[in-house]
Amino acid sequence: MSDTATVSTETATYRRPSGLNAIYQDSRVIAWRNLVHLPRTPQLVIFTLIQPIMFVLLFTYVFGGAIGKALPPGVSYAQFLIPGIMVQTLVFGTSATAVGLAEDLQNGIIDRFRSLPISRSAVLNGRILADMIRLTAVATVLVVIGYVVGFRFQGGLGLGLLMILVAVAFGTSMCWIMTNIGMRVKDAETAQTAGFVWLFPLTFISSVFTPVYTMPAWLQVFARNNPVTLVANLLRALSVGEVLPGSTWVSMSLPVFLWIVGITAVAAPLAVNRYRQA
């Protein structure tokens, strides 16, 4: 312990960046931290990789025969399923945001960050940034497994990439909702439940797994206006390169765009504000 002096002699030869640059740098460090967590959290690996693969295989080979018959002629179930399951998987994947944040609050690591002279929005921004990367990875895995079961980017690679982009953008807006949940519950277990249960009706009462017209009329009202349906339909259109009969690219994309912007515009400031007060 002869090097005692080195502990405090090495003083400020560094300087904190300022303004937007500081927010960017801090967010990047926090995002890195959250990404490092991924491979070290078995649950997340399962959610990220195993679950989507299992869902695709189960739905294609178990339900595909039956549900496929309800589809318009010439549409394969894999082609119908992959865009839908992409929304569903990404939406479910966002609950990890709530759990992760609740865990951080519970463990005291957030207090550690808050005792450091870093920008106040960096912790949330960094988490969202990491989640965006995670969701992109999930979407990519889905496309790969999709190709195995017969899904194709029929409208070309450009529209295919746009499809992933839209899915990730919607998932990211949902992550902002999840940050609010994560900060308002008292522990990770509650976050798990609170971030999860409402996703079942949200994703299942939609066009994700089955065409909406096969549902009872009263349920169709919800299903048709469900943002998950709107996103799933847009992703399908992007994957085949043509819009649904009776709609245009604008009529299909605009509502999705508005949902993404709307959710983010409400949930993100609420979350940042909540974080400041926490």
Binding site: T41, G108, I109
Partner: protein, 340 residues
């Protein structure tokens, strides 16, 4: 030079609970202040206010002349926080934790890396540097936690119950590290439930309870009010107890020899003179008396507390061996009293 920490009339309530009800104290630059009190006394709340994690309802707190409410970010760059409520990232390795904080403080990758290496070596964690913190022992965690809070070479270090739940070896290790930091000029504010910890480390002690400062002074001053350590000897029979009492009579210079017949317990004040305790036991053995048990009883927070709140005398009768290890118990009682 003005005090580096100035706390004035701090108030903070959570619902009906007045965690801080008008706390004031000061800490001189380069010194160690021990904030002593039972669970729920308001120690942690005070630290959280000083570390900018919590806004006070009323009153002011300054660290390094900076106001914690209006100049929070400036305060953050001169403080380090370690303890029960500030943590390290368990999924990261020790080295990653240190590098992350270095980067957040504005260091370049290579600066952060070399700072991490220095601290890991300093805290004897080099071998565990690349292991996730989840795999660390309790003592290692506290060390890495402390290391993380020192990345930015803070002028003021808050240690919030740094040794609660640690084994004795890790505990004294942490004490040694703290002393070295103080020798380097760091100001330390330490919260603790243990008088011996405050005794070991603190230059001055502030005792708080129910969110208020009830006493302030050096460790010696506080101990004068509580009577110091005593040797407790237990016997099988009251006959032995009486015999032992007469053997030990010459050892009690100030007449502080107490007999508790109900528990067959003899208590001799020895303060810090452990040799006196050894001589007393030897004298008993020479007289052919063999105690069923004996121990050195240090004044616990209970005792200080009793003494400071003026309930010291009435508890003497009940103060058998059963009530001695009652840190947690009495803490709980105080918490309850505060909530009710």
């Amino acid at each position: 030079m003005p005090p580096i920490i100035e706390v004035e009339n701090l108030h903070k309530s959570f619902g009906d609970t007045h965690a801080l009800a008008g706390v004031s104290f000061q800490v001189e630059r380069g010194s160690v202040l021990g904030l002593l009190g039972p669970n729920g006394a308001g120690k942690t709340t005070a630290v959280r206010v000083l570390a900018t994690l919590l806004a006070p309802d009323q009153g002011t707190a300054r660290v390094g002349g900076l106001d914690v409410s209006t100049q929070a970010n400036a305060v953050r760059s001169i403080i380090g926080l370690t303890g029960q409520y500030a943590a390290v990232d368990e999924k990261l390795t020790g080295a990653e934790n240190l590098r992350m904080v270095g980067r957040l403080l504005g260091m370049s990758s290579s600066q952060a890396r070399s700072r991490a290496t220095v601290l890991l070596e300093r805290f004897d964690l080099s071998d565990a540097a690349d292991r996730q913190v989840t795999t660390y022992s309790g003592g290692m965690r506290r060390r890495v936690d402390l290391a993380v809070s020192l990345v930015g070479s803070p002028e003021v270090l808050f240690l919030d119950e740094p040794t609660t739940g640690l084994d004795p070896a890790s505990r004294s290790e942490l004490w040694a590290i703290t002393r070295e930091l103080v020798a380097d000029g760091t100001t330390v504010l330490l919260t603790t439930q243990y008088l011996d910890e405050a005794d070991e480390l603190a230059d001055r002690i502030v005792v708080i309870d129910h969110g208020q400062v009830i006493e302030e002074g050096t460790a010696d001053e506080l101990k004068d009010r509580t009577g110091g350590r005593s040797l407790e000897i237990e016997f099988e029979t009251t006959a032995e107890l009486a015999a032992a009492a007469s053997v030990l009579q010459p050892f009690s210079a100030k007449g502080e020899l107490q007999q508790n017949e109900q528990d067959c317990l003899l208590s001799l004040s020895v303060d810090s003179d452990t040799a006196l305790a050894v001589r007393a036991i030897a004298a008993l053995t020479d007289a052919g008396l063999s105690p069923a048990d004996f121990r050195l009883h240090r004044p616990s927070l209970d005792d200080v507390f009793m003494a400071l709140t003026g309930h010291g005398t009435e508890t003497e009768e009940q103060e058998g061996p059963n009530s001695i290890p009652g840190h947690a118990k009495s803490g709980d009682t105080n918490t309850e009293a505060m909530n009710s």
